[in-house]
């Protein structure tokens, strides 16, 4: 498939990002909508694709479809890609669903419904799952705009520290 894309595809279709600028509307049930193809390939090579799919379906999507704000994020990334304001950085977030990291090529505004989030040239933008949003105390903001650093430790969403709660003593 990748060979066919390379031979016959346009620049969009050889993209290895989770989003293509002129792609169709995101299917709210598409378990792979926020997964960088390289990450998916890695799990497939390691024979752990089923683990990843399960993790995304239940731990990330919580057994539901993608939420409205998550679909808005995807829509906005498509718009920014078309404008050339962001580009595939060539890396993905360390935790599942392993979304593509986008590098901002100029200053701009990320529109999420009626909300606006400014970004600067050189910033990175990446999708954040519900659990990561809760850790960051931003439950309705499905992305992180920051300058990211490389890390070697990949993690499934269900392995995150706040997946379960308890109370240790009275």
């Amino acid at each position: 498939m990748d060979i066919l894309k390379s031979l016959f595809g346009t620049s969009e279709y050889v993209s290895r990002a989770d989003t293509i600028p002129d792609g169709p509307e995101t299917d709210p049930e598409d378990v792979w909508a926020f997964t960088d193809p390289d990450a998916r390939d890695r799990y497939e090579r390691e024979g752990r694709l089923r683990d990843l799919e399960w993790d995304i379906r239940f731990e990330v999507m919580r057994g539901e479809g993608w939420l409205e704000e998550e679909l808005l994020y995807k829509h906005e990334i498509q718009r920014l890609l078309r404008l050339g304001a962001v580009e595939d950085k060539g890396s993905y977030w360390y935790a599942s669903p392993f979304p593509t990291v986008y590098r901002c090529t100029r200053d701009g505004i990320f529109h999420l419904g009626s909300q606006e989030f400014p970004f600067k040239s050189g910033d990175d933008i990446v999708f954040q799952c519900r659990m990561a949003r809760e850790m960051n105390d931003t439950p309705y903001k499905p992305m992180l705009i920051s300058k990211l650093q490389p890390t070697k430790n990949a993690m499934l969403c269900g392995e995150m520290g706040n997946a379960m709660k308890g109370m240790h003593s009275k």
């Binding site: 709210p28 049930e29 399960w54 379906r57 239940f58 731990e59 919580r62 057994g63 539901e64 479809g65 799952c129 519900r130 659990m131 949003r133 809760e134 439950p139 269900g158 520290g161 706040n162 997946a163 379960m164 709660k165 308890g166 109370m167 240790h168 009275k170």
Partner: protein, 184 residues
């Protein structure tokens, strides 16, 4: 395949379901998608977060969880009226936007979902009023948890801590009790 009926968690309409657990259903009335809570069919799962149930299913230990809930949590009986009142009340508060369901669940079975208060409010269980404040977390408390924390109602409200160990109720330290020999 024989279709079954489940109630849409968003609008309350009755929709058809092919009975496949882990497969979302789209409501033909309001268009929302939801994972049919097994509660629609099996009372034993009334308190269990669907994500927790899916974990046990994936690990091939769903039977172990079901047994634990049925005998260690429910003590071989049904849910009490106050337990059911908790579920109805917290779902009402969620619909009203007063609490939201968090992306986490209680570490001990039946692994009930955690809710986060969006504002100050009150959870009513019959005559009992459980007051909560904005950003506090709310979770159903099993009888053993009630004993442990001295709760009068089946609800624990507070600032919960991250927990890495998933446990069955029967594995809790106070699942069995004895009397230590007197030192005198």
């Amino acid at each position: 395949m024989q279709l079954q009926e489940v109630v849409c968690s968003n609008c309350g309409a009755t929709v058809e379901w092919d009975g496949t657990y882990g497969k979302t259903v789209t409501c033909s009335y309001c268009g929302s998608t939801f994972l049919p809570a097994a509660t629609a069919l099996e009372d034993v799962w009334l308190m269990t977060d669907p994500v927790a149930r899916a974990r046990y299913e994936f690990e091939g230990n769903l039977g172990g969880l079901e047994h634990d809930i049925r005998y260690e949590v429910m003590r071989g009986q049904g849910w009490s009226d106050r337990d059911r009142a908790y579920v109805a009340e917290v779902q009402k508060l969620e619909r009203e936007g007063i609490v939201r369901k968090a992306a986490s669940f209680w570490a001990v079975s039946p692994h009930p979902p955690i809710y986060v208060a969006m504002q100050d409010g009150v959870l009513r269980l019959g005559e009992s009023l459980c007051t909560f404040h904005r950003d506090e977390e709310i979770v159903w408390a099993c009888p053993m948890t009630r004993d442990r924390f001295g709760l009068n109602s089946p609800v624990l409200i507070g600032d919960l801590q991250d927990e890495t160990t998933q446990r069955l109720c029967g594995e809790m330290v106070n699942a069995m009790q004895g009397r230590m020999p007197s030192s005198t």
